[in-house]
Amino acid sequence: MAATLCSKLLPKQGWLPLTQSVRHGSKAVTRHRKPLHIQKQKLLAVTQYIPPAREFPPGAYPSQTKHVQEDNDLTLLMKRELKKLFEDCKMIAVVQNSSSSAEDMMTLRHRLYKHNITVKFFPNKVVRSFLSDSIYCNMGPLFVGPTVMFVSKEPKVKEMLTTLRGSPQMTLLGACVDNTLLSAQGIVSYSKLPSMTVIQGEVVSGLSMLTSHTAYLLQRHPAHLSQLLQQYIKQQSSDGSAEAAPKAEEAT
């Protein structure tokens, strides 16, 4: 700008203008907000964005079309693993750990591994979406916050409870044992159940008790009669032997 001014106002060499205005012209990139040129200001004012008027705020009503997100490959892999896990393992327990240091986790895992219980971590979203499709949908609300899954092929509830008692920060929320959903108290009562053989023996004895009672009632009368007859025979034989003995003494 100074150069163009100079070229117009200085036709002859060495002629300085009468007034020299010192322009305070800022550069393009300034630290302060440069005031916009009036033309640019007008343009921006005219082309300002006016959003469409909404009748209701955006979060007030639920959206009509549910945006279904496609599962990416990692999610599919984890879902397949979860499916295999649910098929293989008879016992799946859900535990919340408010905190554990790495060492606590290691000791816990070691203790559980002795009883063939593995500790699994899965992201809650994946687990929830998997469970809502499968038959275990009622386990969904358990998977909130920092959760860990203990899975095992055999339902070893008692050992798991004793191990968890050792670590205070683990909270047992629920378990799915033999496709049955159990709460915390349910797990405790399950652990107190006796083994299968004992229960079978109890059932068999309870059923056979009735039949044995019936048989006893039927046989009561003849048994009583036979007892009385035996008693009579004994008395007779003792009288007979008592008579025979004095007779033998008389004879001799």
Binding site: S98, Q169, S183
Partner: protein, 108 residues
């Protein structure tokens, strides 16, 4: 869920915290998050005498957090309609009120 302003929870003035909830209900999320924050390793190292006791029930009861302070005062928070950050801020404001000297000492 946005994390609360202070990452560490100071439990110096607290004797016992009982967190009671039913995991199959849908309104326990904030209570569980509160438990996760309060029961964390960092929080527990601030006061080894403080006990954090989670109780898991199955009777459709409301989630309740019962805090007993060292001077005998009790704070009962019903977490059904509260967010975890609200619960934490209420709890921490009372802790700070109880134990301002320790807090001021830390800040200095």
């Amino acid at each position: 869920m946005a994390a609360p302003s202070k990452a560490t929870v100071v439990l110096k003035a607290v004797k016992k915290i009982t967190v009671q909830f039913c995991p199959f209900e849908s309104n326990v999320r904030s209570t569980r998050e509160f438990l996760a924050l309060v029961g964390s390793e960092k929080a527990r190292t601030t006061n080894m005498n403080c006990e954090v006791i989670p109780v898991v029930k199955h009777d459709k009861s409301e989630p309740v957090v019962d805090i007993t302070y060292v001077d005998g005062e009790k704070l009962l928070m019903k977490g059904a309609n509260l967010t975890s950050s609200e619960m934490l801020s209420a709890f921490q404001s009372r802790c700070v009120a109880k134990d301002p000297q320790a807090k001021v000492g830390e800040k200095k």
